[in-house]
């Protein structure tokens, strides 16, 4: 803290020459730590100050806006630097051995705040999402319980996001990762009081916790082999550290990959998002989807050198897994009529496509492809948040979570409907931009990715089509004519989609990619862009045509598919519950009861033997001695050689 204050005073009292010669880079020593301190202070204030809904919302918004301004200041400070700004604070430093390999003699965890252009842009994207979500929630979430808790948790998640993006020490990264994970769970489980919400939120704890543990295991695995968890020290010695093996790198890569995939919510790790999509406040779902998309892709981008250093098969395996996720998610999205679940799955598919682009870039030793994938996710994240908020506005106004009961939003809720369309378009076109930079559409991977883009476009647009067109039917206790936009909330999804569109446009230019990773990249060919845009347009056209001609049939087919999927999943989860969870907890219960019962029996035997001993002590001594002597004589006689043997 003192260093930050000293830096601030130094920046303020620099020698003044003629005119205004403010150098923004002098603010970095205090502005960068404040990126962590500001949201944390907002968290403490939100917890401890007046706990009304308005004040909590205002405090969260204030903290987020201050962090946004600080981020802009840091971006300004970095604008004249070609190298990242790094500040290091020691957290743990202890000597554990005086002999053996030098890198294992001490254990150090440092708070390394490593800020580069990518960090700043990613943080900006997250802050935009959070501001929009808080603004939307202040109107649409009036009836939500626990406003102070909700907004405090959002600021704590922002603190964790800042930390994760700036971390350059893997133990530090995991620390912020764990805080972020805990806060995400609290956000998704916000409606504790409702039984369905609470039971569904269990998935939001268990599944990401498992993948987070995998992430921790990956870091620990690498530390156990290399003796360091600092990225700048680890990456150069991946192939030179004594004792390194391909196997160790493969295992470490897989563990890290599972951890990141869990938080990116790629299929099959997506149920913590889809299961809670209806039961959690929409703002929480939007924040979770957008923030973790950005964090996950940035961390993947930074850790990919470890995966690439393992072997070619591992990278191929990662790409294949991403391709499967990119295809499976939109297919699942087509089954069922819950719009927020459908949007979450379509978004997951888009992120999987971008992740495949990142991995493909590293495999092809081309940084352009890789950073293009990251740039795409920055736009996708904003689009996901916009789509979730827009569709939640529509669902709230139409008082249903079933696409079959929605309709006519293009006329009754024009802004939300438009924001939904814009968000879906941004989501799909952003991956098109990434693909245009380096995926050959004639390659096997290109073919699969084309399929994924097509399905993603269909999955995204069908929600818009189903909600926006067709009749809005009268239902019990529901009057269609009362459906209208909620004043004060309608602008947020629209603006967030607009911000996403800006990111998409930027990602099409190589200058943006140069800025993000500090390297120079070639511009993509217009023909490649047009090819991939064509695939996306084909998907939009297919969805549009299908819903324009046989809307009710398409919705009914989705509903039937959803029911079938629900039955299959019920059977699968029932089997898991019956054959895994049930027996395991039953064994634990039996052991918990059985062991004390068993030792109780031992205790009773002991007590009985004690009573017998006491009773024996009361007997006349001489007969007992005689009986014992006879018994002993018999034993000795039988044991002695020559009698029984």
């Amino acid at each position: 803290m003192s260093e930050i204050v000293l830096a601030a005073s130094g920046a303020a009292s620099g020698t003044r020459s003629a005119g205004f010669t403010f150098d923004p880079s002098t603010t970095l020593p205090w502005a960068v730590p404040l990126l962590l301190i500001a949201p944390f202070a907002a968290f403490v204030l939100a917890l401890s100050s007046i706990r009304t809904r308005r004040s909590a919302s205002a405090m969260a918004m204030f903290g987020t806006v201050v962090t946004l301004l600080l981020t802009l200041l840091v971006a300004w400070g970095l604008s004249r630097r070609s190298t990242p700004y790094v500040a290091t604070y020691q957290y743990i430093n202890m000597s554990v051995a005086f002999s053996g390999p030098t890198n294992f003699q001490a254990f150090t965890i440092q708070l390394i705040l490593h800020v580069d252009h990518l960090t700043v842009v990613a943080l900006l994207a997250i802050e935009i999402c959070m501001i929009a979500a808080i603004g939307w929630h202040s109107v649409m979430g009036r009836s939500e319980p626990g406003a102070a808790r909700f907004h405090a948790v959002i600021t704590a998640l922002l603190f964790a996001c800042s930390g994760m993006l700036m971390s350059w020490d893997l133990a530090e990264l995991f620390g912020f990762w764990a805080i972020g994970g805990a806060m995400t769970y609290l956000l998704l489980a916000h409606r504790w009081g409702l039984d369905e919400a609470a039971s569904r939120a269990r998935v939001a704890l268990a599944l990401p916790f498992l993948t987070d543990l995998s992430f921790l295991c990956g870091i620990a695995w690498l530390y156990a082999r290399y003796g360091t968890q600092k990225l700048d020290a680890l990456l150069p010695i991946l192939h030179t550290n004594p004792g390194w093996t391909v196997r160790s790198l493969v295992v470490g890569s897989i563990l890290l990959g599972v951890g990141i995939a869990g938080r990116l919510a790629l299929w099959p790790f997506i149920s913590w998002i889809t299961q809670t999509s209806v039961t959690t406040p929409p703002a929480a779902s939007a924040i979770a989807q957008s923030a973790w998309s950005i964090i996950g892709i940035v961390v993947l981008f930074r850790l990919m050198p470890i995966v690439v250093a393992s072997n070619v098969q591992t990278v191929r395996g990662f790409i294949s897994a991403s391709l499967v996720a990119a295809i499976a998610a939109p297919l699942l999205s087509l089954l069922g009529n819950e719009p927020r679940r459908a949007i979450a799955l379509a978004g997951s598919s888009a992120v999987a496509i971008a992740a495949a682009v990142v991995m493909n870039g590293f495999q092809a030793q081309s940084s352009t492809f890789a950073i293009a994938g990251v740039a795409a996710v920055l736009a996708i994240a904003l689009a996901r948040a916009g789509a979730v908020l827009a569709v939640a506005s529509i669902a709230a106004a139409m008082r249903t979570d079933d696409l079959a009961e929605m309709g006519d939003a293009s006329r009754r809720m024009r802004t939300s409907s438009g924001a939904l369309l814009a968000s879906v378009a941004v989501m799909v076109l952003s991956v098109v931009g990434a693909l245009g930079f380096g995926i050959n559409s004639r390659s096997p991977n290109g073919f699969v990715l084309g399929e994924a883009v097509l399905l993603c476009a269909i999955a995204g647009l069908r929600v818009f089509m189903a909600a926006s067109f067709g009749p809005l039917r009268r239902r019990r206790a529901f009057e269609p004519d009362r459906v209208r936009e909620t004043p004060g909330a309608l602008g947020w999804p629209y603006w967030i989609a607009a911000a996403g569109a800006t990111f998409v446009l930027a990602s099409l230019f190589s200058g943006w990619l140069n800025l993000l990773d500090g390297q120079s990249h070639k511009a993509a060919s217009p023909a490649a862009f047009l090819t991939w845009v064509g695939v996306a347009v084909l998907g939009f056209a297919a969805a549009g045509f299908g819903y324009a001609t046989v809307r009710d049939g398409a919705i009914a087919a989705s509903a039937a598919g959803g029911r079938l999927l629900g039955r299959v999943m019920a059977i699968v989860f029932g089997a898991i519950d019956r054959f895994v969870i049930g027996p395991a907890t039953d064994v634990a219960r039996r052991l918990g009861d059985g062991i004390p019962a068993g030792d109780g029996a031992v205790g009773r035997v002991t007590t009985t033997s004690g009573r017998l001993a006491l009773a024996a002590a009361r007997l006349p001594a001489m007969p007992v001695v005689i009986v014992l002597a006879v018994v002993l004589a018999l034993v000795f006689a039988l044991v002695a050689p020559g009698v029984a043997r």
């Binding site: 743990i92 254990f107 965890i109 805080i179 409702l194 543990l213 295991c217 156990a224 004792g243």
Partner: protein
């Protein structure tokens, strides 16, 4: 040993500018810490107390005795020289020379960590017992005697003395449960006596076997526990020691006492047992297996890893299934012990260091979760999870403390258990990757159990038929807050706060700094050789 040579040739100056430096030039600090509670117990036992008129005074005597012990510990903690691998504050008096028994006390880094933990838990247990109304004199006498036994076990450097202190802890605690426990207190007390008695017998057996194998000259640690013993003897004795430790920590399957004891004991006893007394099991493994018998340590490390994984997994599953909030707290209090043992199983310097830190953090976390569940059950007038629900708005203090306890068990950053778990896991993945994965899976189950517990108790829909509830009293908040505060303090400042711009400690040299004394020496047999470059 290399460091010892360097230090003896170039003696470093005593730490200056640290509160308490140079006060204790005579070695009697540890005796004071051990016997002060006994003296106070004697005072409480003998002062007249007609019709309970001076009950409060007795509580105050116990409280200020513990404050005094903490003050002594603060001085000793600040004066402790972290660069010395040897025992410090040593006291050695001949006691029974005919059989080689000495009154030998001393501590190194891990011992200091345990003493600090014991001091904090002792004070917390007094605060938690402030509401005791019946037979106050007897209660606080027994509590102080139990503290003496725990502290004595930590500082004993003679195995005969160790066995005495180890066994002595069971008696006052069992009497406390028997006299002031819940409805099933008789079973709990007998179970405690049975298991701990069995553990004491195992420890005595191991000690006497060592005494016999080393020539029957001395019971001193330095003479008895030395790496030069044959691997067969090391293995046999280590197995016996692990059994003794498993009854105390407890480890699966010798955990049968913990559910009833932590479920029936009064909160003050719960904190002392879950926080400090149980950590003695892990401390015994460190002292008698890891530090002294490296051959056995290498051979038995898979067994330790398996015990750790079974303990954490069982605790999580059992807590998930139980319908009693105090039983859930008791099962969850087993989790930190499993993590500590995983670090020992790692037989790597970092794993051992993580385990030592986890002795402290795990003790606090276990004491906190068991204590908060006990207090919650008292305040809610029921312990049935089927009845409890929606308590967060009505008992905000307990809600926050239960949440902090859950976070501490899972190793969430900012709390000190994060550092301990990171060090333990980082250390364990070198030699025991399967054990580490299994413990991680067990932690995941525990996380689910904790989530279910929090949801049911704090955030579920309130039960209109439940009895009336009230939030924690000031004393209860203080005792739980003390444990939570210690977790937070060490989590925020593991190396201690420094004077800005310097490396000079402000008033706390840092638990991690102080605990490192002796760890390098303990872990030196487990240092892996520099590997050759191979693919």
């Amino acid at each position: 040993m290399i460091l010892l040579t360097i230090v003896s040739q170039n003696p470093s100056p005593s730490p200056v500018g640290v509160p308490g430096a140079g006060i204790f030039t005579q070695p009697f600090l540890l005796s004071l810490i051990v016997w002060l509670p006994t003296i106070a117990a004697a005072v409480i036992a003998t002062v007249p107390n007609p019709r309970g008129r001076y009950d409060v005074a007795m509580k105050q005597i116990a409280f200020f005795t513990n404050m005094g012990v903490l003050a002594l510990l603060f001085i000793g903690y600040n004066q402790f020289e972290n660069f010395l691998p040897t025992m410090q504050y040593e006291e050695k008096l001949s006691w029974l020379p005919a059989i080689g028994v000495t009154y030998h006390l001393g501590i190194d880094g891990p011992g200091l960590v345990m003493l600090v933990l014991s001091g904090l838990c002792g004070l917390a247990s007094i605060l938690a017992s402030w509401g005791v109304r019946e037979r106050v004199r007897s209660y606080f006498c027994l509590l102080l005697l139990a503290e003496t036994a725990v502290n004595g076990t930590i500082v004993a450097r003679d195995t005969f003395v160790l066995v005495l202190f180890w066994g002595a802890a069971a008696i006052p605690l069992a009497l406390l449960i028997l006299g002031w426990g819940g409805p099933r207190r008789a079973g709990a007390a007998w179970r405690l006596l049975g298991y701990w008695g069995f553990g004491t017998a195992a420890l005595a057996l191991g000690v006497f076997a060592l005494y016999r194998f080393t020539g029957g000259q001395s019971f001193d640690f330095d003479a008895l526990l030395k790496p030069g013993l044959s691997p067969r003897i090391q293995l046999t004795v280590s197995l016996v020691m692990i059994v003794a430790a498993a009854t105390r920590l407890p480890l699966f399957p010798l955990h049968g006492w913990i559910r009833d004891v932590l479920g029936e004991a009064p909160p003050g006893v719960v904190v002392l047992v879950a926080g400090a007394a149980t950590r003695l099991g892990a401390f015994l493994i460190l002292r008698t297996v890891i530090a002294s018998e490296p051959a056995a340590g290498h051979i038995l490390s898979p067994l330790l890893a398996a015990l750790a994984a079974l303990t954490v997994g069982f605790a999580g599953l059992a807590a998930l299934r139980t319908t009693d909030v105090r039983h859930a707290g008791a099962y969850l209090a087993m989790v930190p012990g499993g993590i500590t043992v995983l670090g020992f199983a790692a037989i790597s310097p970092l794993g051992i260091a993580g385990s030592v830190l986890s002795l402290f953090t795990g003790g606090l976390a276990a004491g906190l979760i068991a204590g908060v569940c006990a207090t919650l059950a008292e305040r809610a007038q029921t312990r049935s999870l089927a009845v409890l629900g929606g308590l967060a708005p009505r008992m905000p203090n307990i809600a926050w403390l239960l949440t902090i306890a859950a976070m501490a068990l899972l190793g969430v950053p900012i709390l000190s258990s994060y550092s301990a778990e990171v060090m333990t896991f980082f250390g364990a993945f070198k030699n025991q990757p399967i054990g580490a994965f299994a413990v991680a899976a067990g932690l995941a189950v525990s996380a689910i159990a904790l989530a279910v517990l929090l949801r049911r108790v704090l955030f579920g829909s309130p039960n209109p038929d439940a009895p009336g509830v009230s939030d924690a009293s000031l004393g209860e908040t203080w005792y739980l807050g003390l444990l939570a505060g210690a977790l937070l303090w060490v989590g925020l400042f593991p190396g201690g706060p420094k004077i800005p711009g310097t490396e000079v400690p402000l008033f706390d040299p840092g638990l991690i700094t102080q605990m490192s004394a002796g760890i390098s020496d303990i872990s030196s047999p487990y240092v892996a050789p520099t590997p050759s470059t191979a693919r």
